[in-house]
Symmetry: none
Subunit: 199 residues, 4 copies
DNA sequence: TATGAATGAGCCTTCATTCAT
DNA sequence: CATGAATGAAGGCTCATTCAT
């Protein structure tokens, strides 16, 4: 019975999604504060007034973006939860996540949004939740590796998971700025991570 | 002959420095794009017109800030270049740099400026140079550890140095957002780094 | 044959009345120009589109309000037309009308609408008609007082009636602003009016 | 030493006055809420940005207008303070004040501003102060008439003064709407007032 | 009749920057 | 070097109104 969406509801939802994509594209290109609502409306082929019907303020675009971010991390979580040896799973994840974070656009957006989040606790909370999901999944994988005696650590699995994520995100972002590709970067990170896991 | 600074030159230089400090304070409080030139002028107790005499545009404040950043990293470099066993030097550095990056203000500023830098190559170059200095100093320290057979790595010293810096900066920034202190964070980072260095 | 109102017509009429009340409430709270159509629709529990079905424009709400104003003055006219000695009738009217005009909400609305009326002759006409009814009733009462030799004036009854109404309305409005109650005000007005009527 | 106004200060002051006049003219023509800042700027031949240099917000234009209102009432106060028999002074005042309030523009502005004042206590206070000055001057005149045994009242001089002012203002405003001139109106008011003063 | 998404002009305000003094 | 008035484009947002459903 959850499918009682009229054609109109569906169209509205589509529109919302469409606007959000346009907004994201603008934020990537020019940054959050450099993007005007008019610009977003134009890019989404929506009148300015109607943009405000769907998102009551610029802030809400950010929130919606943050909420949607969870979708972006889903594939990475799926990767972490596959039923493969921990070492293989970790390698694949590092390569894949590093690539994901290395994208110029992703890096720009990450910094821009993170900067904004520092000043808007509401935004920060949403991002941290998404991030925590990732850390939990990664620490599960680490735990399974520890159980198999493949890994051994002196700090908690969860703390290690967070450090690994920090490392990947930060390196990838810097790589994007300096022009280092994820193909160069991933092996270095992998080496450091596996060393840290005493493998 | 480089000392032919008149009293006036000196005063001018002081003024510049004073303005830059005011600007930095504003950027920390509200962000680069959210700070107006008027605001900076007021905070620096300088007239708006005069602010423009010292810095021909808002962009130049950013450049000056970036150039000055080198001063901020000096103590960390000094720490890395002390004549102590590599392990001790590294520990001290991690603790100190982590603390430096954990400061809420520092974290905000870092993100804000980094986001801006992504779009202004000129700015990025300056920051990367400062950062490279740090990486060089750190890789020297690592090298000395390797020479003493305390460390052993599978990737280049310089790459490892960069990864370590990435790790510290990123973790510290996240810590600042999540409310984790550098005192909690530093030991974890230390553990991971030393594990990665096979100590 | 004028009673061929279907149930539907009646419902429609009710709806109109309901909307008008909501609009009036909004105008009182925020002023005519500060009130949005959306707001009125929401307050009346009517969809925006439907609001426009009942009132084709914001202007029409004002007109309808003006037309309805006649209802508000009915009790005062009834008071003036009672079969009591002119002096008593006048005293009662002053007290009652002064109280009616002293209401903060009434005062706000009066000023707001009057200001609007100054620019929209159509609106002004409606208000003046209502007001004229009041003046006529009051001058009748004065006339009966004159006939009984209780009053004696040097200007026409109608002019005097208008002056009295002006006096009450203006004093009451000022009282509402200054925080003077109608209980303090009415006796003063009464004194002045009766003096003017040579009583 | 109060004349240390530079040429610039004077120009600034002139500009301010000029803008205020333009704003007043706009308010008269279209009403406070119907007038846009752009419109005022254009009418004052000032750039929009500069308008905001002189008046930091629309609200401040209203405040400035209110503050300046005191100037407008000065001639009436002077009229009340002349050294002439109270009866003559009063007659002249009624005629003059009635004429002043009868002006269409004045009436419009009065209503518009009064409506605004009802919602902005800060504005109301300023207007009431000006008005109180007038009432004080008028009650002095009444007092002198009482001393000369020309007037005799049953309420306080000050209350009577206020009632008289209310009467004039309200009648004049209505006259402006209905198209009654102050020349017709003033004698009626005079009659009523003098009757009320038992002359 | 009833709904609310859609429109785009308009609102108040802020901004980086210039320039006459 | 120092001042702050002046500029006008751009900012986020609201509005009365229309119209397809």
């Amino acid at each position: 019975m959850t499918k009682l969406l009229t054609k109109r509801d569906k169209a509205t939802h589509e529109r919302r999604k469409h606007i959000l994509e346009a907004a994201t594209a603008c934020f990537v290109e020019k940054g959050f504060h450099q993007t005007g609502m008019r610009e977003i409306a134009k890019r989404a082929n929506v009148s300015l007034g109607n943009l405000y019907n769907h998102f009551p303020g610029k802030h809400d675009l950010l929130v919606a973006f943050a909420d949607q971010e969870i979708v972006v991390t889903e594939p990475f979580i799926a990767l972490l939860e596959r039923d493969v040896p921990a070492q293989d799973g970790l390698k694949d994840f590092i390569k894949s996540y590093c690539k994901g974070c290395s994208d110029q656009e992703a890096a720009i957006l990450f910094l821009d949004i993170a900067a904004e989040a520092m000043r808007q606790p509401g935004i920060a909370k949403r991002f941290l939740k998404v991030r925590a999901n990732l850390a939990v999944a990664l620490s599960s994988l680490i735990a399974s590796g520890v159980a198999d005696k493949k890994f051994s650590l002196t700090i908690s699995n969860f703390d290690m998971a967070n450090l690994i994520l920090d490392l990947i995100e930060s390196s990838a972002a810097r790589g994007a700025i300096e022009g280092i590709t994820s193909r160069e970067l991933a092996p270095r990170i992998e080496a450091m991570v596996f060393a840290a896991l005493r493998n």
